[in-house]
């Protein structure tokens, strides 16, 4: 796949060049210091080698200015490293608006991925090139970590938490991904391949792999009726319950005065622990659905609620969730 002894992995995402540049920058600074110290030591070592057995070195007065110098210079350079690293990191942690969302579940020792149209894959993940991809990660048992070296991204998959990561693949191809958080016996086998495809190929692949009724939006709509959500949450927002139309991605004012963004985690919490956050102007009437829904059903409900944008939902045929513009 690669040359004999490469020193960096392939660059296949928007982050890869950034991280590599950062790497070079820090390496530069560090080589400068390491080389400086090493050269000084070697030179002194030979130059001031002891001449006679009872010789004593020449005392040098300490010099506060010198000390200050070698505190301040590394400090400044450190701040440069910190600053640049922070920029990349903040970019990585703040997901852009128009992502294609893929749910990824880790369990000992396999990965399950679910495409927006409900197509499920095991230890494989197909994504279109050039789109912003967001992975929404959850774990069924211990902590795992989704790591794609060619994209220079990784994120822990923590049970009880929803973590997200994003990237934009820039080069079609097949790239290894690994589980990078030790998770027990077959940790090393818990990997697979991310396949980056041209968007047209991706769409073809999606529709080719008969997803049909597994479409989570459809499934979610059905659940929404089955579980009687629709009895309270009516589309025009009249009644004692807020309309869920367009709620996804919007800012919600809560009864205690704070504001939250309605993202997956919030919606999930609203379903499982409705009284944790009460929408301003409403009573805590909603019953909890904890224990009555499987993870997959929750995903489906969330997917459905996400699709409830005020504008007509685009054709779900391609299975790509509509861009949510309100964040």
């Amino acid at each position: 796949m690669q040359s004999q002894l490469p020193i960096y992995p392939e660059q296949a995402s928007n982050f890869a060049p950034q991280v590599d540049a950062l790497m070079l920058f820090i390496t530069g600074i560090c080589v400068f210091f390491a080389a400086g110290v090493t050269v000084a030591i070697v030179v002194f070592f030979f130059k001031y080698r002891r001449k006679t057995p009872d010789a004593v070195g020449i005392t040098i007065e300490e010099d506060a200015r010198l000390e200050a110098l070698w505190m301040i210079v590394p400090l400044i350079l450190s701040m440069a490293m910190f600053g640049w690293g922070a920029v990349v990191y903040v970019d990585y942690r703040n997901v852009p608006r128009d992502t294609l969302d893929i749910y990824v579940i880790g369990k000992q020792w396999m990965w399950k991925a679910q495409q927006p149209n409900g197509l499920k894959e095991i230890n494989e993940c197909h994504v279109p090139v050039g789109r912003n991809i967001r992975l929404i990660l959850s774990s069924e048992d211990v902590i795992h970590d989704f790591f794609v070296p060619a994209f220079r991204v990784k994120m822990d998959v923590v049970p009880g938490h929803y973590n997200t990561m994003w990237f934009r693949p820039t080069k079609p191809g097949r790239y290894h991904f690994f589980c990078s958080q030790y998770c027990g016996t077959n940790h090393a086998l818990m990997g697979g391949w991310v396949t980056v495809m041209e968007p047209s190929d991706y769409a073809a692949w999606l529709s080719g792999s008969a997803a049909g009724n597994a479409n989570p939006v459809v499934a979610g709509e059905k659940l929404f009726a089955e579980k009687a959500c629709s009895t309270c949450h009516v589309a025009n927002g009249t009644g004692r319950s807020p309309s869920l139309n367009g709620v996804y991605g919007a800012q919600v004012l809560l009864a205690d005065g704070s504001i939250v963004v309605a993202d997956e985690a919030y919606i999930r919490e609203s379903i499982l622990q409705p009284n944790a956050k009460i929408v301003a102007g409403y009573q805590p009437l909603m019953p909890t659905f904890q224990g009555q829904l499987t993870e997959e059903q929750i995903f489906a409900l969330i997917a459905y609620i996400k699709s409830l944008q005020s504008q007509p939902v685009p054709a779900t045929g391609a299975g790509i969730a509509p861009p949510t513009g309100k964040r």
Partner: protein, 106 residues
């Protein structure tokens, strides 16, 4: 180290204050101060603890070094609590499914 002998009178006074503090804690717990119940409880507890340290444990009359030791212990405890909670409290509620800002109402 010429030691300082604290007179029993002071001890008694402190004891009385501690008792009063205990009473107050219990009383305050049965009032509804909303979010401040916990704050009040901890404030009273801290005052009580301080009195114990200063008088029963003679910290007030101890060498500076001992006082420094005490301050350090509180300081490090504060580091641990504050930096950890700083993480929890600045997460966009994705933290745990019922997040740290949940407040109880019934």
């Amino acid at each position: 180290m010429s030691e300082h002998i604290v007179s029993p009178k002071i001890y008694l006074a402190i004891f009385t204050t501690l008792m009063a503090g205990t009473g107050m804690t219990v009383w305050a717990a049965f009032q509804n101060f909303g979010k401040f119940n916990i704050v009040i409880a901890l404030a009273i507890a801290t005052i009580k603890a301080t009195l114990v340290v200063l008088y029963f444990m003679h910290a007030r009359y101890s060498p500076k070094r001992t006082q420094l030791v005490i301050v350090c212990s509180v300081f490090w405890l504060a580091i641990m609590l504050s930096l950890t909670l700083a993480d929890y409290n600045t997460r966009r509620h994705e933290g745990r499914l019922a997040s740290a800002t949940t407040c109880y109402r019934a």
